[in-house]
Symmetry: D2
Subunit: 426 residues, 4 copies
């Protein structure tokens, strides 16, 4: 299954509703404030989000999983799926692999497949939250924080192995998400667990190539239901500082307690030069991992407002690794990812439309009403014409979801792969 | 694996620390207020909690499952496990089955096994949240609320089948837990889904034998992450009223939004004669399903305070079906259940110690400080001697967990069943 | 301070950016789906939201209050302020009074003032959460639920007095918000408190004129921090049913536990014909009472989606009483209310744009992706041209906030009233 | 109003129920594990908690306040009230003052009054969340973080003034609680606000005497409802590190998002030597500020378990400043404080009973069940005899609340001060 440039440009031509008059309107409106829509189109066209290899199959909950036909059964097929997404959007030009689910048997061949789709290798993900068949040590009671040195060493070695695989593929970063924690009060000594974790991370950090970065993820709960060793950004930030300059915090939108002001965390980390990666999804209750922007799109915009601000004003912070980290329990995974990519670009575009100069003035004068008006004006703007223009410019489909359906992608995938394949993942 | 009465009484005799002097102290202290500890011992000895058949294996999360040796591989073995719990505690004299996980191949034989352990058949549980292999209809988009009539009918018929199996076994009630809901705004028409659910429940209700009760469970989220058709007690209560006199609400402790005052819900339902069943577990974040009393024991006590009050003052409410509904991700399931039973009896005993007369007076006088003192006095009392006395009286082990370890139960189970069996469940 | 029609139309003419080309675009786009934008303009122009008399002064928290100049010091001045809002928007044509804060000394004169502004008298609000100077009974430990009959009677009589004042003014409904509850476990007997409340409400209900409605508000916590007698919609619904046909539940957006699915509650109540009133505000943490739409605009849209659906499909439900219930701690109250009115109309318009036929089909086919697309398409539309058209049509300012600032309203109010007046309220 | 030692010892003698047999039982039980109850009695007798000067009057909410007779109208009277608490408990031997509410007119005289009650001066509290009459600058839009330099300077100077008052009185620490934040998205530039705050704090820090400590409090929301500059421990920790060695984080139990694992924060801060102060209260929903231990006593125990562990194992962490920070909306403030002191000592005692050696072993072996048993065994112990012994030992009333009522303290205070005095506070 591969979608050609010709197919897409043919489809784009048939696109009935032209977006050009709307776009002109936006151009004029924002030009008056010194905001150039064409520059924004350029930025939007450049924006790339990594797709994790585990997001291409049906997700599930502890209560079960409803399968979906045509799931990719191999790393090659996963790359093909991302290739479809990238062809349709020109925004999905990277993959984030998960080891051991995605150990390439033939590195060179895999790199070829990726290259043919225009896909690069973003952050590598290690897995120390599940025991693999024939594992010599168990992570049942923790990995990098385990009271048992053998389990810690086993988990450290796994992370080093992941780095090595990543080096071969051309990745430049490692994301460490630790499920370590406790289900019951008393189970862990918090201080011991934290010390073990710090030492384990330092040991992994030291073996990273000099051009690599480490991203330390945090999460308050699940799969542990009493405590998690790296429970919040403060803990991750402390550990990043302990590890060194190239260790950063990674923010996953779903990894927060109810009502957390995530955009403030983003702003703080960028100010301190310590925001390294970002995982997109959305949620109403916990780490629900539903489609980006499907529940709280304004919160997403506010977060992007800080990201855009930081990217412009915080040279101390590195370029960010963007990734979608969602679960597709009741949707076709590829359609879900297309909806997520759309929501990300909408929020990004709206954030780029914020009149930063006017905002700064209003903030300085404590004109709270005006501050709100400025943000809402950007947010209430229908920016879909900008996305369409950006996509047409970069050779993507003007309306990727419509194109996906029109091309009958899922039907073809089922024909190719059958209805019973099951992708590795959660 | 079966533990004999002799083994237990022999062990009880060896029990080093006598609890009798403590018990006498409690007897005297509370007698002054007209509270007879011996009556309480009697009530505690009588209290029976059903064990669900799916709680005897290791639980898990969507991130995985760490197996545990000696898990029961058949319904007989599950009953044997409950038999162990009941022998040790004399509190676990009932089982709650889950269909299709526990369809008995030989009803008579199963009833014999249960009888030999002194176990009765409590509420039957249907499963319309998972598709079984070769299922003719799918529940992916709902069961009793599905927009598709064929799926609704399939789910209705399944519930009727469950009733029929229950009738043969001697059960007298059906618990309906619906996962139905939506992951995304717009997916469901709330009103249609509610109407379908009401009609489906009525259809099931009508086929119940006249001495059966129906328990309608509610839950705000998971496995659906945007909406759940029966999201709260109000919805369940409305549906119970629509179905008829023998339909009741079932309260599961973990099925509430953060900070919900559950004890008030319990009091309201008992006042209205509509509390039918109760599922015990504990949680810090969501439906964590951890050991009863391990996180919020005071909340458990406050709930029992309302239950005890209702059992005494609300003849309009039926006897309650009690069940433990927890998941055992990192503990030996039987040890976890023993800890849960202990916590339940402690809370129950403390609630029985509340000086209701004094409380009523203090409430009438709005002496808020004294109201609190009265509850806290009961709660701060170490009631473990009462539990020990109740257990010794009924032939159970004075210290069940200690006995379980001393008898080497798990070791024997592993010897019998091996390390690779896996119980049905979540 | 009074703004004339001439002033407004003169300003509208000067409005630089015409919204007509955008409006045409919307007209064409939605006409293709059978959605007539001009009908929507008509509906939006008709929509009226009551302003509560207590929302015209600076709000505060328990930590204090920062005053604002030109606050209204009398009922007349409050009506004048609402007159300004209504002149600017033609959407604020009603006031909701709070007794005893707004007892009119001269009913006839007050009615004249209101009439001169085009303002009608919406629901009356009673206050049994504060003790007035020289009160004969105290509400410290509750009002309609008090263990003390004298306090209950006092609160019942107060509500009857409020009805009488409302009758004279032409109001047709009473809103009962009860703060009753407990700060500590044990303080209240839940069942007694609920019974007292039901009886008190029935007694008030019986004295209502036959063309009046009663709205029963619910709230989980604050000002009581352990329990609240009417804690959720289920309790309010139960009490409404007990009182009679003209008793309804009132939903205040801020009165829910974290993550509550409010739109589902709205749908359920409308299906059952029991949604009577609606209080608008927004919040991130609790009952924050901040500007409508300032935190979770998509949730507001989803709620309006259910309201619009119910208004069309649920003839069993009465017309709704709409009110803004917010607190203005750091903004000019009138500007805050203008922003709230804007956010309400935006969400209402977006909900009117939802392609209900397509949505119904997608729901029937369980095309979850398409369901989401349909809602998001409406939500992502920039509907501000529709609001502008509706306002111009009805003689309001095309851009009310801009007009408010241009007319220098606040400056004039301060000149008239000084900087030290303080409006009654929270 | 002053209670003499003789009065107390006379009352203790009349104490009907001797606690000695229970105490002996505890002594024996715990001696077997190498835990000496008499050492614990000693520690409990030594434990001192500061009473804040604002906790001696009735509290309230934004909805109002119900007054209480006999409230202290002056600093002297506040000290007298604390004197009563200290005489009854020998645990309340310190006061924490709030400026400008407690500026002493005659320092020497105030020190005499305090000395006569055995009360020392704990941390000083500044107030930059309210504007005082005739204030030259406003804190409406922030204090240490204000965009306006004049407001920042004004707030900095206020803190310096507070230090100066504290120096005269003999205090050795300053607690900074900042309400600074925003009610609406866009209102604040997060990075600017954080930078301003850091600079302001550094400026205050520099003027502190060398034997003083600074405690930086954090809070997620209220009185600001969108963002708070110091929103969590991570931000406070970062600021403490920026200020210097003698700047520490202060944990207030009520200042956390729902479900936060506070005990883990405590453990982390003590490990890093950065936990300086601790504010006790309890809550179910937000910063409810209700009586300590009245809602989640097990959480309090778990926190004390970490505190006890840290006090023993973390020499890098300084001695802690303990304070009760609660609001007394419906209780006699002194009775409420007596209940809080009791709850604190109970949790402390239970934590001291934890068998640390056994716990460490069980943790090392990942015996999760046993870890839980060890904590629960301590928690389920009725430790009130230990408190009684500790109090009798130190000359306090064995049962302080009973003594308070028996001595008719409130009646006397009303006689002395009348029913209309109103203490400064919230």
């Amino acid at each position: 299954m591969k979608i050609s440039t010709d197919q897409i440009s043919a489809l784009n031509k048939k696109q009935e509703d032209s977006y050009n008059s709307e776009l002109d309107f936006l151009r004029n409106k924002f030009a008056k404030r010194g905001i150039e829509v064409d520059e924004i189109i350029h930025k939007v066209a450049d924006f790339q989000v990594a797709i994790p290899s585990w997001a291409l199959g049906a997700g599930g909950t502890r209560f079960g999983r409803f399968s979906f036909g045509g799931e990719p059964a191999s790393l090659e097929q996963k790359l093909d799926d991302i290739g479809v997404l990238h062809a349709l959007t020109k925004t999905a030009g990277a993959v984030s692999l998960h080891i051991p689910w995605d150990i390439p048997s033939d590195v060179k061949a895999i790199k070829e497949v990726a290259k043919s789709h225009g896909i690069s290798f973003d952050a590598m993900n290690s897995n120390t939250f599940q025991d693999q068949p024939n594992a010599k040590e168990t992570y049942k009671f923790g990995s990098l924080s385990n009271t048992n040195a053998a389990s810690r060493d086993y988990a450290i070695q796994h992370n080093k192995d992941v780095i090595n695989i990543g080096k071969e593929l051309g990745s430049k970063s490692l994301t460490v998400w630790l499920a370590d924690g406790a289900n019951f009060p008393g189970q862990n000594n918090f201080q011991t667990a934290l010390n073990h974790t710090e030492n384990s991370l330092k040991s992994i950090y030291k073996t990273m190539p000099e051009d690599w970065k480490m991203f330390i993820e945090y999460k308050p709960y699940e799969p542990n239901f009493y405590s998690t060793v790296i429970q919040d950004w403060g803990t991750s930030f402390m550990l990043s500082n302990a590890c060194g300059e190239r260790a950063y915090t990674l923010v996953d939108l779903g990894h927060h307690l109810p009502n957390t002001n995530i955009e403030q965390i983003v702003a703080t980390l960028m100010l301190k030069g310590k925001l390294g990666g970002f995982h997109f999804n959305d949620s109403k209750y916990g780490d629900d991992d539903v489609t980006v922007g499907s529940i709280k799109p304004y919160a997403l915009f506010l977060i992007f407002n800080e990201l855009v601000y930081g990217m412009k004003n915080n040279p101390q912070n590195p370029d960010l690794s963007w990734m979608i980290d969602a679960s597709h329990n009741t949707k076709d995974p590829l359609e879900d990812l297309l909806q997520s990519l759309e929501a990300i670009l909408i929020a990004y575009t709206q954030a780029l439309l914020v009149d930063q100069k006017a905002l700064k003035n209003a903030q300085q004068e404590n004109d709270v009403v005006k501050c709100q008006e400025i943000l809402q004006d950007a947010y209430r703007t229908d920016v879909r014409p900008v996305l369409k223009a950006a996509r047409e410019k970069s050779g993507a489909a003007v309306d990727p979801l419509q194109a996906y359906r029109q091309f009958g992608v899922r039907k073809d995938l089922i024909k190719e792969r059958g209805t019973k394949t099951m992708a590795t993942g959660l």
